[in-house]
């Protein structure tokens, strides 16, 4: 069964290559632009892993993460922060929210793919 990945980022210039990359690696991918949309499509789509940006319009990534962890399907999903906030304090704050990885932008495609693969294999 193909694993499902949800990309949450409001920046199309990042979303497009990411979606392409994940599809090339054989995942089923969906992209949304806001945290609210991500929560809405959670039960219907049921992602195994979520690539989550922190600077989002409306709810920010930290809030989305917290909300996700409060619903069963969200609790099951792996969460990877993809963020332009690269200060140590931001990373620490993200990791404290029970996420699986924190990747700072800019990232190398290979690293992201590797991280995603690792996490999905460990969970199955």
């Amino acid at each position: 069964m193909t694993k499902k990945i949800l990309v949450v980022d409001d920046e199309p210039n990042i979303v497009v290559p990411l979606v392409f990359l994940m599809r090339q690696n054989g995942y089923e991918v969906r992209a949304v632009g806001t945290g609210e949309d991500a929560l809405d499509c959670l039960s219907e789509f049921g992602p195994d892993l979520i690539l989550l940006d922190i600077m989002l319009p409306g709810m920010d990534g930290f809030e989305v993460c917290q909300a996700l962890r409060e619903i069963p399907k969200g609790k099951r999903a792996r969460i990877v922060f993809l963020s332009a906030m690269g200060r140590d304090v931001d990373i620490a704050k993200g990791m404290a929210l029970d996420v699986d990885a924190y990747i700072t932008k800019p990232f190398s495609n290979a690293d992201v793919v590797e991280k995603v693969k690792d996490l999905l294999e460990a969970s199955s």
């Binding site: 210039n13 290559p17 990411l18 392409f20 332009a84 800019p106 495609n109 290979a110």
Partner: protein, 731 residues
């Protein structure tokens, strides 16, 4: 006892003694007489009663006159003599005795005056020598003082009790000043002054903590014990403070006492409001720059890596990725541009501008133009007055030199006329020359060039420098053949000092002071306590104050001005003064205007008494109130107790009463009379602050006399005043 009383005592005693002698003599005489003689004498007396009565009456009258003559020519002059000699000896050596009396007394007066002349001359020559010797030390002290005053840091020195023993101007600004435009009455109680407690302006916990840190560091024998803390100053300033201990000799020894191991501490205050604000802004700028960069680079990297990794990618997708890379590359450039711009304007906005006379500015430009550019610039001041401009002198001079240099290059002129004049808002500096004019386009080009002359200058453009000064430059071509082409620089004019109220009025002041006494009990103020009462007069801190009022009746009249200065350690601190006009919220009677020279328009916009009184209360807290005829002023303050809730419980002393204690035989105890007697020049009579200062000076002259009279402590002075007060009330 007043001289009059003394006379009647003297008279009564003399008369009774004479009467007693006469009676005793008569009794003895009567007993010696034989009965016939007695009968004869009685008949004789009876028949000649009128003669005898007149004789006795004349004798008595003669006696009274003689007594009065003796009293006035010998006794009173001698009593006054001693008072005046003591004035001469103690406070006013140039005072000379001028009293009428008998020849002998006059001779004595002459001798004393001559002696005083000799002593004064001697004293003068000695003090002259002392002065010369001191002047050098004084000079050095002044140098240090002015250095301290101009320091950009605030400096305060306190003893271990937290009493301020030194402060500079800056520290006062840092700690006292309220924000611009704010009502000073909103934050009463922030006063800095010698002898005041530091805890009035700083949080006690902060100081205590700093002292603990210092003590610990000294115990650990750290070479430079310093404690740092950050605090809020006046006007929402953020201050960084450094506390440095003043070590005393004993502190070097092992400490036996548990107290602080130092004699006091120096507080150095830095205003970091700006710095912090700047740092915050730069920090913010950097953060947003980093985030934008990360975002854009992420897009580019991800896209290009996908292209490289998947060469078989379809055309649409590839095209999409290319566009991403392109647009993010543009974003990056944009971000860079914007950040640089913001950063530059941040930097610019922190250029400090200083005031300087425009003539000085142009002189410097003229000299430099001659030295560096070979340009002769002559300056004409058509305004005939000096104007201050607010400039960053280096960049302003560079801007003018830059313009001269460009003009020379463009037109070939080497001689320039420089004139300056003012319009409403701007100072015009005109540069004119013989030759062709320049075009506006050329000037616009110059504006965008950096201010460089050969290799010297700044990277800022003329436009940036001008905009920082809120200045403009414009060129005028010649409209008439005679007129020279010119370039005009517009510089904003700074507001000059307004004409002070003391110069504004031309009202003559008639001197008829308020009545001497008022129904206020000066001697039972609640703030009196035994500890204060036993303090020597010279060690107390006083607030010398005076009020001006709309009239003389506290029940209906209002305060319109309060002035006060402080006396600390026997010194009058002229700079620590309080000078506040008060809006009485009622019209001023014409008679009172003649008296104090304050007119209604001067009171418009001044705070009402409800706001002014809390300020004065804070200013006077923990001090002895001192006034001349203080009962009147105290009564005025007391009348406002109900409406303001402010109660003055300070102990009160009155120079009028103290003067009366010392010189009971002098009749006049008005400020002018006392001041003249003590050799004090009266300045600013009938302004509240002026009178307060004179009263303070009088008090300082009275202090040694009080000591001579055996009045050492506050209690002594109070009790003596009270006696005189009632004494004077009776007559």
């Amino acid at each position: 006892m007043t001289p009059k009383n003394r006379f009647w005592w003297f008279f009564a005693v003399s008369i009774s003694i004479i009467f007693i002698f006469f009676t005793i003599l008569s009794i003895f005489f009567w007993r010696q007489l034989s009965p016939q003689e007695k009968v004869y004498l009685i008949t004789l007396l009876k028949s000649n009663f009128a003669f005898i009565f007149i004789a006795v009456f004349l004798m008595l009258t003669g006696f009274v006159f003689a007594l009065d003559g003796i009293f006035h020519s010998y006794i009173i002059p001698v009593v006054r003599l001693s008072e005046e000699v003591s004035v001469m000896q103690s406070v006013n050596p140039s005072h000379r005795i001028k009293i009428d009396g008998s020849k002998d007394v006059m001779r004595l007066v002459k001798v004393i005056n001559e002696g005083a002349d000799t002593i004064e001359a001697l004293r003068k020559s000695v003090s002259e020598k002392i002065r010369t010797a001191r002047s050098q030390a004084e000079e050095e002290k002044n140098l240090l003082a002015s250095f301290m005053a101009e320091l950009p840091q605030g400096v305060l020195i306190c003893n271990t009790d937290g009493r301020i023993i030194f402060y500079n101007k800056r520290s006062r600004i840092f700690l006292e000043e309220s924000p611009e435009g704010a009502d000073p009455a909103d934050a009463p109680g922030r006063f800095i002054g010698l002898g005041r407690s530091i805890f009035g302006v700083m949080d006690k916990n902060l100081i205590v903590h700093a002292l603990d840190v210092l003590t610990a560091k000294i115990r650990k024998k750290e070479p430079v014990p310093v404690a740092h803390f950050v605090m809020m100053g006046g006007g929402a300033r953020l201050l960084r403070a450094e506390a440095i201990p003043i070590l005393n000799q004993e502190a070097a020894l092992p400490m036996l006492k548990s107290g602080a191991p130092f004699a006091g501490y120096i507080l150095i205050l830095y205003d970091i409001t700006r710095e912090i604000e700047n740092e915050r802004r730069v920090q913010f700028l950097l953060q947003s720059l980093l985030m934008r960069f990360r975002g854009s680079v992420a897009g580019i990297r991800s896209a290009i890596e996908a292209i490289i990794e998947y060469p078989e990618i379809d055309a649409d997708q590839l095209d999409h990725f290319r566009r991403i890379i392109h647009s993010e590359a543009l974003n990056l450039g944009d971000t860079l541009e914007k950040t640089t711009e913001t950063y530059n304007s941040e930097i610019e906005s922190h250029w400090p501008l200083v005031y300087m006379p425009v003539a000085d500015l142009l002189d410097t430009v003229g000299q430099k133009a001659k030295e560096k550019l070979g340009i002769k610039m002559t300056v004409n001041n058509t305004a005939k007055t000096s104007h201050q401009v607010r400039v960053d002198s280096y960049s302003a001079i560079m801007a003018l030199l830059f313009l001269l240099n460009r003009l020379k290059e463009q037109t070939g002129a080497a001689e320039f006329q420089c004139t300056y004049d003012r319009s409403d808002l701007f100072l015009h500096i005109d540069l004119s020359w013989k030759g062709t004019g320049i075009r506006i386009e050329t000037l616009r080009q110059w504006e965008s060039q950096p201010l460089m002359i050969e290799s010297e200058g700044t990277a800022l453009t003329l436009k940036e420098v001008l905009s920082h000064h809120d200045a403009q430059v414009w060129c005028y071509a010649c409209r008439e053949p005679k007129e020279l082409p010119r370039l005009r620089l517009f510089l904003p004019i700074t507001a000059e000092g307004e004409v002070g109220p003391e110069e504004a009025g031309g009202i003559s002041i008639s001197i008829e002071s308020r009545p001497e006494y008022y129904d206020f009990d000066l001697f039972n103020q609640p703030g009196q306590n035994p500890e204060l009462d036993d303090t020597p007069l010279t060690e107390l801190t006083y607030t010398v104050f005076d009020t001006e009022t709309t009239g003389l009746d506290p029940k209906i009249d209002e305060i319109i001005s309060i002035g006060a200065v402080r006396i600390v350690n026997g010194r009058l601190l002229y700079k620590e003064n309080f000078d506040q006009l008060v809006d009485p919220k009622r019209p001023l009677p014409y008679e009172s205007i003649q008296f104090h020279g304050i007119r209604e328009e001067m009171l418009a916009g001044q705070p009402p008494i409800e706001k002014a009184l809390p300020l004065f209360h804070a200013f006077a807290s923990d001090t002895i109130l001192l006034g001349h005829n203080a009962a009147f002023d105290m009564r005025m303050l007391q009348m406002k107790e109900a409406s303001t809730g402010i109660r003055f419980i300070n102990p009160v002393l009155d120079t009028l009463l103290l003067s009366a204690v010392l010189h009971p035989s002098q009749e006049a105890h008005k400020i002018e009379a006392i001041a003249e007697r003590l050799g004090i020049r009266v300045v600013g009579r009938h302004t509240a602050l002026g009178d307060a200062i004179t009263t303070g000076e009088i008090f300082l002259k009275l202090l040694p006399l009080l000591k001579q009279a055996g009045l050492h402590t506050l209690r002594d002075a109070r009790v003596a005043s009270q006696k005189t007060y009632y004494a004077r009330m009776k007559y």
